[in-house]
């Protein structure tokens, strides 16, 4: 009877970001100040951004495409953060997923579509989960702080990618630092042509819903929340805290890895040096913004997708550097904190 009242749940998830619009407004205002100080007209810049995001159907689908990896990553991180594991390593986990998916898409390219397509995604999950669980293992076994280890693993993942695309996996012509295209059998179908909207977006929505149910409706979710809220009480209740740290790192890493696999299998069709423009870091803000509620991540993911997509158009049309968006995102997080909307790891009441 999980699906009962789902509409109500959705509304509540929407409400959980009811105050963040004010936070976003403040962040945009601060962004406007910076724009103005730098000699730009904030109105022109923001209008270009708005148009970039919502001008027509194609623009909107581009927003959803940008939102897809953010929803994957944000929903996964929501699980880790609820478990009080500060996984800052979604970026590296994304890369590992992309590497695994690309390798499968190239070297197993002859497999039939019905096998290859899911296999690519599964290997992406495995790659990301492995990279995440490595940090979990280091924490459990050696007490290494996950904030530092996941960040170090980000750098290492990016260097591995750099090595692969300039060396062993470089495209046959060897012109650019990138791999050849993956087999067409691995491509995720696009619907709504001529837009690029693809199956990955639907998978992302499903994952967010599944992780929401996992977190609030199952005993596994209870366990994760218990560990995250009071690890000592969890141990007292007979919960193996270390296993749950591994699990939370596996889920969040797997989700980030899936995001990487989907990016390869639906958008770029190949791996290259900077395939992620920082999705892993955006995902942190996406999750925090809605109090680490996987369902709310759908909204915040789309919001950040719009910011990102819009900022690219802003850069093209209004000549405003798009990195500004990173600052706006950071300001959003701070504003949310300031409004006390974000309540660290304390649970908002569910059920």
């Amino acid at each position: 009877m999980v699906w009962r009242n789902f509409g109500k749940r959705f509304r509540r998830a929407w409400q959980s970001i009811g105050l963040p619009p004010i936070a976003i407004l403040i962040a945009l205002l601060l962004g406007a100040v910076v724009l103005w100080l730098a000699g730009y007209d904030p109105l022109i810049a923001y209008r270009a951004m708005w148009q970039g995001a919502f001008k027509d159907l194609t623009a909107v689908t581009e927003v959803l495409i940008k939102a897809t990896p953010l929803i994957f990553i944000g929903a996964g991180l929501a699980i880790a953060f609820r478990c009080s594991i500060w996984n800052i390593g979604a970026e590296g986990q994304f890369y590992l997923g992309a590497i695994a998916a690309t390798a499968a898409g190239i070297y197993l390219g002859s497999l039939p579509r019905a096998i290859l397509m899911p296999l690519v995604l599964l290997l992406g999950i495995a790659g990301g989960a492995m990279w995440g669980m490595l940090a979990g293992f280091l924490k459990n076994r050696f007490g290494a702080n996950e904030v530092v280890t996941t960040i170090m693993l980000n750098y290492i993942a990016i260097f591995i990618t750099g090595f692969l695309v300039t060396g062993p996996m470089i495209e046959t012509k060897g012109l650019f630092p990138q791999t050849p295209r993956i087999s067409e059998n691995a491509w995720l179908p696009r619907f709504l042509p001529p837009t690029r909207l693809h199956l990955g977006f639907i998978i992302a929505l499903l994952l967010a819903i599944i992780l929401y149910i996992l977190l609030f409706k199952t005993s596994i979710g209870y366990t994760i929340r218990a560990v995250g809220t009071n690890a000592e009480a969890a141990r007292y209740a007979g919960i193996n805290v270390q296993n749950n740290i591994l699990l939370a790192m596996g889920i969040s890493g797997g989700a980030a890895g899936l995001a990487g696999a989907v990016e390869v299998a639906a958008i770029s069709y190949r791996l290259y040096q900077l395939i992620s423009p920082g999705y892993g870091f955006d995902g942190i803000a996406v999750s925090l913004l809605v109090g680490n509620n996987p369902l709310g991540v759908i909204f915040s993911g789309i919001l950040f997708g719009a910011l990102r997509s819009g900022s690219e158009v802003m850069q093209m049309n209004a000549r405003v550097p798009s990195v500004l968006v990173l600052m706006i995102q950071g300001m959003v997080v701070l504003s949310v904190v300031a409004f006390g909307v974000y309540r660290a790891v304390t649970m908002e009441k569910e059920e």
């Binding site: 910076v34 730098a38 000699g39 730009y40 500060w86 800052i88 280091l138 076994r141 050696f142 007490g143 290494a144 702080n145 904030v147 530092v148 280890t149 960040i151 170090m152 693993l153 750098y155 290492i156 260097f159 591995i160 750099g162 090595f163 300039t166 060396g167 870091f281 942190i284 803000a285 925090l288 405003v320 550097p321 990195v323 500004l324 968006v325 990173l326 600052m327 706006i328 995102q329 950071g330 300001m331 997080v333 701070l334 904190v337 300031a338 006390g340 974000y342 660290a344 790891v345």
Partner: protein, 310 residues
């Protein structure tokens, strides 16, 4: 390898070690103060970036490196005030606020750099702090190159570390910091203003981090590049832990990282080395992981109230 080239290699590596350790050391010393008072600042990376940009733009516009350094300190103080406002007064989760600072630092410096410099067509390089060749000492074979041909910001660490140690262990203020990070309630009942002590410690931390960032543009590279800090802020966090939350420990560990950086640079510069350069670049980060893993046997404990708002 023959003897002379080997010695030259060693000499150039060791000479680079101290220099490479310097930015990390500034940030780490600052973070020692912050963490000893109970505030974990994972936003060091972003604050170093802001410090680097403030130093660069000021020095570039005025042609005065000292003004650049002052600008960096001011930017660090502003960041510190905001950081402390959120983590001490509002009692927000320190990791969340730190993560936000990293985004803001990345975003705002990248934006301003592109807006004002990247495509301006100007010559973007600075005249950096020059090495001060100490008379006589610098001409000692081998040692002269390794120890006595550095710039003033590198030498300054020789003052910074003992000074930090003195403040922390020999002054009433240091005693307050150590008490506040360990048992803030006890400090409070002893009449210490916990919030003020944490504010000041955070400010020390962020201004030193900003100086560390400024070093990169004023005394190392001669211009700003987006993301120029490349993880040194995070490495400084690991250095603090491995250094056992003490200034001298931070110095030792920073030098260890300096060796990795220097090695990576030197080996890359060597012809006919078959190791892919990406692996060399990854060396400091791998070393950080190994260092954290190696910590398992040590019994130095983190300040008990670290990360917990009061």
């Amino acid at each position: 390898m023959e003897l002379l080239p080997a010695l030259l290699f060693l000499q150039s590596t060791l000479a680079a070690t101290w220099r490479m350790a310097t930015p990390i050391l500034y940030a780490a010393i600052g973070e020692v103060f912050s963490e000893r008072a109970g505030v974990l600042n994972i936003g060091l990376e972003g604050i170093m970036l802001i410090g680097a940009f403030a130093a660069y733009s000021t020095a570039f516009e005025t042609g005065n490196l000292v003004l650049g350094l002052i600008a960096a300190v001011l930017s660090g103080l502003v960041c510190g005030l905001v950081f402390a406002l959120f983590t001490v007064t509002i009692k927000a989760n320190q990791i969340v606020v730190g993560a936000a600072f990293n985004m803001i630092g990345m975003g705002i410096t990248g934006f301003l750099y592109r807006a004002f410099y990247a495509e301006s067509g100007k010559v973007l390089s600075l005249k950096t702090f020059l090495p001060l060749d100490l008379p006589f000492l610098s001409s000692i074979p081998f040692l002269g190159e390794v120890l006595f041909r550095h710039n003033i910001m590198v030498y300054a660490t020789l003052l910074l570390v003992p000074a930090a140690s003195f403040v922390l262990y020999k002054t009433a203020f240091g005693l307050s910091i150590r008490a506040v990070g360990e048992h803030p309630k006890a400090a409070d009942t002893a009449g210490i203003n916990v919030h003020r002590t944490r504010y000041i410690s955070v400010l020390i931390g962020t201004s030193l981090a900003a100086i560390g960032g400024a070093f990169l543009v004023l005394a190392y590279a001669d211009q700003f590049v987006e993301g120029i800090v490349t993880g040194r802020g995070f490495i400084a966090l690991a250095v603090v832990v491995f250094g056992g939350w003490s200034p001298w420990g931070a110095m030792g560990t920073s030098l260890l990282f300096g060796v990795f950086y220097a090695l990576q640079l030197r080996i890359q510069a060597m012809p006919n080395v078959l190791i892919p350069y990406q692996f060399l670049q990854a060396l400091p980060y791998l070393a950080t992981l190994l260092v954290l893993v190696g910590l398992t046997k040590r019994r130095v404990r983190a300040p008990k109230a670290l990360g917990i708002p009061y």
